[in-house]
């Protein structure tokens, strides 16, 4: 017992040593807060790999403004308060030039609000809630990935041309699930007023016991089902739905479900014929993108997922903004981001001056099982740019002042 007690004191002392403040250094520092453990991990692992690739590439070319780039990663554990603590630490102690990352919408909003209060630049990479750039938008926040509204609209524009009238939905019981459905439903009704909703299901996020939900949906007998489940909920749902013949009985639309993050784990069980948004990396012909895939695969031995692309595009954007600003001064960086045009592997995107939303789009297509690779893929897909679904500057102004 004596020996172990010494270990205990040692552990306490090491903590005390670790607490000592670290000194500031000269490279351009970027603080990256993300849900690297738990529910966000399947997405953020590949995200981080692509970020490290982007940083190595820029440093290989001598950095920006003659300075190396250094990223400090912090795990928010899926908790907004934890993310805010990291933001405080990154800005105050590590002297980062800006904060980026975040996966969950509420974490993104918490960091965004902190950034607003403390006049720090925050480039939200992944959170999907519209509120970040609209109702809770402010001068110091920008967002890369197409939001819930955009993706819901892309799907509705396609689904509105189809014959299905009776719709049901299932999604996680939180803001993302609700908004993903509402934007889709509203647009669908606009295009096709006879649409009726026969059932809405909201299981708790990450705790779906799929059987009862599948039966309930089957008994409402809709023509089509809109799904905003993801992660383990979606995987469990698919298996149960396959066994109970759901996919034979109705047309299914799934937001995000063509992303490799969510379709790859299903292997050959991926349901065919679903209308989805996603990322068909295997099919994108642009040379810059093929090159991106080759480099990522060489580096990690894995294929890219959407998280990888988002991470890469986010950091390219940050690099360009720093270059354009010629400094890491926050206000000048903010000015540089307004209307910033970035050449990415999937073509040019722009950070809109009105709301800070990037015009990065998404692919809409139909799922099919690729027997050769043994996973689900998207076919007949089409890239829909953000510009074509984003509201006008005038509407955005209303959204930003109304909320």
């Amino acid at each position: 017992m004596k020996g172990t007690r010494w270990l205990g004191w040692l552990a306490l002392m090491l903590t005390a040593v670790a607490v000592w403040p670290a000194a500031a250094q000269s490279p351009i520092r970027i603080g990256d807060i993300n849900t690297y453990s738990g529910i966000g991990a399947p997405f953020t692992g590949p995200y981080r790999a692509a970020v490290e690739m982007a940083v190595d590439e820029i440093n290989g070319k001598g950095g920006i403004l003659g300075r190396k780039v250094e990223v400090i990663f912090r795990d928010d554990k899926g908790q907004p308060a934890e993310a805010v603590k990291h933001a405080q630490e990154l800005v105050a102690s590590e002297k980062v030039a800006l904060i980026t990352g975040t996966f969950l919408s509420n974490v993104g909003l918490a960091v965004s609000d902190w950034a607003k209060q403390n006049s720090t630049l925050f480039v939200a990479a992944e959170p999907l809630t519209e509120a970040i750039t609209w109702s809770k938008g402010h001068d110091h926040v920008f967002r890369v990935r197409p939001n819930t509204y955009e993706q819901g609209r892309m799907l509705a524009d396609k689904a509105g041309k189809m014959k299905h009238v009776k719709w049901a939905t299932i999604g996680p019981n939180y803001e993302y699930g609700k908004r993903a459905w509402e934007t889709f439903r509203d647009r669908l009704k606009e295009l096709k007023p006879e649409v009726q909703v026969v059932g809405e299901h909201w299981p708790a996020l990450g705790k779906l016991e799929p059987g009862p939900f599948v039966t309930a949906i089957l008994n409402q007998d809709p023509d089509a089902l809109y799904v905003s489940l993801f992660g383990s909920d979606w995987l469990g749902f698919v298996r149960e739905a396959q066994k109970r013949g759901l996919f034979q009985k109705m047309f299914v639309v799934g937001i995000l479900l063509g992303e490799p993050e969510y379709i790859d784990p299903l292997k050959t069980e991926a349901p065919e014929g679903m209308l989805v948004t996603g990322y068909p990396w295997y099919d994108i012909q642009a040379p810059a993108h093929k090159d991106f895939v080759a480099r990522f695969t060489k580096r990690t031995d894995k294929n890219p997922v959407l998280g990888s692309l988002v991470g890469y595009v986010t950091y390219l954007s940050i690099f360009d903004a720093v270059r354009k600003a010629g400094t890491t001064d926050t206000e000048k960086l903010v000015a540089a981001f307004r209307g910033l045009k970035v050449e990415t592997p999937i073509g040019p995107i722009t950070f809109r001056a009105s709301d800070g939303q990037s015009t990065m789009g998404a692919w809409v297509g139909t799922t099919k099982v690729d027997a050769k690779r043994g996973v689900g893929i998207m076919v007949n897909h089409e890239y829909i740019a953000g510009e074509s679904v984003l509201p006008s500057d005038e509407q955005v102004r209303k959204l930003r002042t109304g909320g």
């Binding site: 172990t4 205990g8 630490e89 809630t129 019981n173 609700k178 009862p212 383990s232």
Partner: protein, 609 residues
């Protein structure tokens, strides 16, 4: 609802119930005999699921591989459970019983990272059960044949357990130990063997549940925490230590879940907790449990007194806290505010669990109500910040007054689970009531008034609030009220006989703990500038529990010490490594084994020696 739908929904609910039963029966068994609140039970379940996944792929047995893998994985997990009991838990049985809880909490962290490290963090879909991958038509609908087999398997396992408990000598000893383990020990039964075997069997059942779940559910690194709360609910609703109760409760919960989907689709988060609260209020020992015997050894939950911090030391710390912060880097000021808030949060819990002997698993309710109380007043009534700062804790106290009224009628683990149920109900309300609370997007812009907004100024606000709170708690614990509370903790019947109104005292303590827990929440909310439902979540209830135990449950000073150590560890380990759970968990294990009564508890023992 057609009869066919009712039948299918019933079957779906039963299939879910059987997996729940396997996990919960193991938990109940461990709990009943060893009194260990085994948070790591869910981790064993997860571990077995991943092992089944890998073994199925690795075993060259063709279609039979899956079934062999399930058994092997469950056995492997049983061995892990056995090792955990022998190597770790056994060292702390002499400590106040809650320290085993701290140890199992550390194990949850360690196992989570080990799984993430070995299998990766991407979600996995396991193999289907060979031969049972299809469905059969029942009442015109397809139903998975695997689920039918599960439904049949549940009663078979229950029968096997029944045989074990009622037809073997070992079973008789287990039942005896569940009822009165001190008497069993006095009769000369080797407790060590009994405990170890129970732990192995319980872990085996968790592993069986995990392995059998593989064809039904995706494998994720968070499946441990999602299952554990539900399993605890089943155990408590069924009655601690009762296998039949666990079966009944699992069926109840599974079926209610399945029909809740049809009847109350938006209440899915909270339904089982409402059921648990109702059951506990009506039947305080669960459906098939028995009233607990009063503990013979006084203060079994707390045990002995630790050191009280010397006055000079306290004054010195206060002086440092007042003088130093303006000279610290900004982040350290922010971190100190967080530590202060959690010191008060943990100390308010200490009043309940230390002085009162009432372990709460739902203290986050106070924290969250304090935070939301202040935030809602600012958001909807545009109350100025200083006023909101005062009103938040009052909201928490009001909430505690209501829930405390029901909770103090129960004791021990049933008390703990009822507090958990209320916290989950509060969680569901703030999570669902979008128009008012903002749902999971929370409420933003909860910043201190402009003249208090600089980190150092807000630090002094927090120091004042938390300092006053800690001082008040310290006074209360030493006042006649606190001493009476201790008397009630150590021997409720005797205190009652001396004319003490035990429940009234406990209720008042609950209210005070709510008030100061709320003050901690309010302080925290203005530090972060926003409030979110996870302020009321289960991990937020576990954190102060860990802090109190870490510092030493015997004395109030342990709470702020534990808070400071835990926050420092958590903050800096997370900064230095991706595998913070593994490192933090290991450090916690080392600390618990080295200081089995908490840091101050050990110092107290040393001083007396």
């Amino acid at each position: 609802m057609t009869p066919a739908l009712i039948l299918i929904q019933l079957l779906s609910g039963l299939a879910h119930a059987m997996v729940l039963f396997l996990i919960a029966s193991g938990l109940s068994l461990i709990f009943g005999v060893t009194r260990v609140v085994n948070f790591a039970h869910g981790s064993f379940y997860m571990l077995a699921a991943y092992l089944t996944y890998s073994l199925t792929a690795a075993l060259p047995l063709g279609p039979g591989a899956f079934y062999v893998a399930v058994i092997l994985a469950a056995l492997a997990v049983a061995v892990v459970g056995l090792a955990v009991e022998v190597v770790l838990l056994r060292r702390v049985y002499r400590a106040p019983e809650l320290y085993q809880l701290l140890l199992t909490f550390a194990l949850v962290l360690v196992i989570a990272d080990v799984v993430a490290f070995v299998w990766g963090t991407e979600n996995k879909t396991g193999p289907s059960a060979p031969g049972l991958a299809g469905s059969v038509a029942i009442a015109g609908q397809l139903f998975p044949s695997y689920d039918l087999v599960l439904i049949a398997l549940g009663p078979i396992v229950a029968a096997a357990l029944w045989w074990l408990f009622y037809r073997t000598r070992w079973g008789i000893l287990i039942r005896a130990a569940t009822q009165d383990r001190e008497m069993v020990a006095a009769l000369g039964v080797d407790q060590a063997v009994l405990f170890t075997s129970v732990f192995a069997l319980g872990s085996f059942l968790a592993g069986l549940g995990g392995g059998l779940q593989v064809p039904r559910q995706a494998l994720t690194t968070v499946m441990d925490t999602t299952v554990i709360t539900e399993a605890f609910v089943v155990v408590v609703v069924g009655g601690m230590g009762s296998v039949a109760g666990a079966l009944l409760a699992a069926i109840l919960i599974g079926v209610i879940d399945a029909f809740g989907v049809l009847v109350l689709p938006r209440a899915s988060l909270v339904l089982i907790f409402v059921v648990m609260a109702v059951v506990l209020v009506v039947r305080p020992w669960g459906l098939l449990g028995r009233p607990e015997l009063a503990a013979r050894s006084a203060g079994g939950a707390v045990g002995g007194e630790g050191v009280t911090a010397p006055r000079t030391l306290v004054l010195a710390i206060v002086a440092v806290l007042v003088v130093v912060p303006p000279f610290l880097p900004t982040f350290y000021v922010w971190l100190l505010i967080e530590v202060l808030a959690f010191a008060l949060f943990a100390a308010s819990l200490h009043l309940l669990m230390g002085a009162g002997g009432m372990v709460s698993f739902g203290h986050a309710a106070a924290f969250g109500l304090g935070a939301y109380g202040a935030a809602l007043l600012m958001r909807w009534a545009h109350v100025p910040m200083p006023l909101a700062f005062v009103a938040g804790p009052l909201a928490a106290a009001a909430g505690a007054a209501v829930t405390g009224f029901f909770c103090v009628r129960l004791t021990r683990i049933y008390f703990a689970m009822l507090t958990l149920a209320f916290a989950q109900i509060v969680y569901a309300i703030v999570h669902q009531w979008y128009d008012v609370t903002g749902g999971d997007n929370g409420l933003l812009g909860v910043w201190p008034a402009r003249w208090l907004a600089s980190p150092v100024r807000y630090y002094y606000v927090a120091l004042l609030a938390c300092g006053v709170g800690l001082a008040a708690l310290s006074l209360i614990e030493r006042a006649p009220f606190g001493l009476t509370l201790r008397a009630a903790r150590d021997h409720a019947a005797r205190a009652e006989a001396c004319g003490v109104h035990v429940r009234l005292h406990q209720w008042v303590a609950f209210l005070i703990a709510g008030l100061f827990g709320g003050l901690a929440g309010t302080t925290f909310a203005f530090l972060k500038g926003s409030v979110f439902p996870n302020y009321v979540s289960v991990p937020m209830s576990v954190e102060p529990l860990v802090m109190v135990l870490l510092g030493g449950v015997q004395t109030l000073a342990g709470a702020p010490l534990g808070a400071a150590v835990f926050k420092a560890l958590d903050t800096f380990v997370t900064q230095y490594t991706q595998y913070w759970q593994l490192v933090l968990g290991t450090i916690l294990i080392v600390i618990v084994v080295a200081f089995p009564r908490g840091i101050l508890g050990v110092m107290g023992a040393r001083r007396r020696a």
